[in-house]
Amino acid sequence: MPSYLKAINSQVGRKFMTGITGIGLMLFLIGHLGGNLTIFGSAEAFNIYTDKLMSLGPLLYVIEAGLAFFFLYHTILGVSIWLNKRKARPEGYNEYKTRGGASHQSLASRSMIYTGTIILVFLVLHIIHFKFGADYSTVLSESGKEVRDLRRLVIEEFQKTWVVIGYVGVLGLAILHLSHGFWSAFTSLGMKHGDTSKKIQTAAYAFAIVIMAGFIFIPLYIYFTGGEGSLIAY
C-alpha cells in the first residue's frame, strides 16, 4: 500500500533493512572464512582459490559492488539510527540504569556503533593491506599459469607483530557486534520474543565466537609458528 520507497524509509523499513544487510554481511563472512581456511590446504590451494575469484572478471565487479552496497547501506542506516537518538532525546538523563530482566542492553548492544565504525575503518585498511599489497607472483604447478602469490603475502604479513595485534584486536571486537547483531537481525525481521528468541541469542553467541575464532586462528597460527607450522604445506 505505501510506496516501496516510503516503506523502506519508514522506521520499520529502516530496521528491516539493517537486519537484511546485516544478515547479508554475515553470510559474506562465512564465505570469506571458508576461502581463508584454504590456506591450510595444499601448498597451492589458497592461490588457486584467489585466482579463481580474480578470474571471475566482470562478475567479480558485480559481487564487489554488491558487497560495497551492503556495507554502505548498513553503515548509513546504523549511523542514522544512532544520530536520530540524539534528536529524539536532546536532553539526556542525569542518571540512567537498565532494568535488566527482559532487557537486551549489554556492552555489545550499546557499542554497535563503535564496533561497527571500527569494522569499517578496518575494512578499508584490510583492503589496502592485501588487495593493494605487494604483488608477488608464482606459477601454478598443474596449469603452469602465472598467478598472484597472495599466500606468500599473507604468511609474510602475519609474521609482523603489529599486524597480528591489529587483526586479532579488531576481530575480537567484531565478536561483540555479531553477538548482538545476529539476534537483533532476526528480531528486526519479525521474530517474536520467547523460546525461539532465547535459542537465537544462544546461536548468536556461538556464531560470533566460532566465526571470529576461525578468522583469528589464521594470523595467530602463522605468527606463533613463524609460518612453518604443520598445518601449512610447502
Binding site: Q11, K15, F16, R89, P90, N94, Q105, S109, W183
Partner: protein
Amino acid sequence: MSKNFTVHLKYWRQNGPTAKGYFEERTLDTVNEHMSFLEMLDVLNEELQLEGKDPVEFDYDCREGICGSCNLVINGQAHGPKKGTACCQLHMRNYKHGDKITIEPPRAAAFPVIKDLVVDRSAFDRIIEAGGYVSVKTGSAQEANARPIEKETSDIAFDYATCIGCGACVAACPNASASLFTGAKIAHLSQLPQGQVEQSRRVVAMVDQMTEEGFGDCSNYGECEAVCPKEISISAIAEMRKDYVKAVFS
C-alpha cells in the same frame, strides 16, 4: 507502627517546555515504609507548601497502576526498580534509611516538559488517532461465543491491550523509540477479527505518525519490555513489523 526514615531527594524542576531545567535537593525525614512513592512526594509537597514554595508537579490519577498517568524516572529507571510495577504502586519499603533518590521526567523530544516532572504525552494520542481504532460496525453486543476466538489468540490480544499508555517504554529506551507502545496498540487489534478490515491502513498510518512525532528508531534493546508496568513483550514490535511488511505487499 513502623518507624519513619530519611531519604535524600533530588528532583527535576522546569518551568515550561523551553525553560531551562535544574535539580533541586531536599531531605525528607518522615518517610514511612507503607507509603507509596507518590505519597512520599505528597509529603514533600506538603512541606514545600508550608514553606510557601511551589509544589513539585507530577502526573497521577488512579494510583493503582491502571490509568498510565504516572511516569517518573527514578534513579535512572522508568517507574523505578520494581518489575511490572507502575511508580504509583511502588512502595517506600523498597527503600531504606539514607537512600538517595533521583527523580527525572521521561526525557524525549516528543514528550515536552509541561512543568517539573509532568510531560505532554499527546504524541501518543495522535498515534492512536492515526489508526488505533476499528470503524467496522459490529452492531450491538452479541452473545460472546457467536464468533469463537481461540483462547490463545484472545489471551495474546488481551496482553497487548493491557498497555496503559504511560510512556515508560519511551522513557527507558536509549533511542526514545515509541515502538513498544505503537506495536502494542497495533498488535492487540490485529489479533482479532474486528481489527482485520483496517489492518494495513492502520499499521502504516500509526508507524508514520510515530516517526512524525519525533520518536527515535528501535534498536532492539528490549529495555521497553523490562520497564513496562504491564510487562508487554517486544513480540508486539515483531507483530507491528510483520503487519507493516504485509501492508507493503498488499
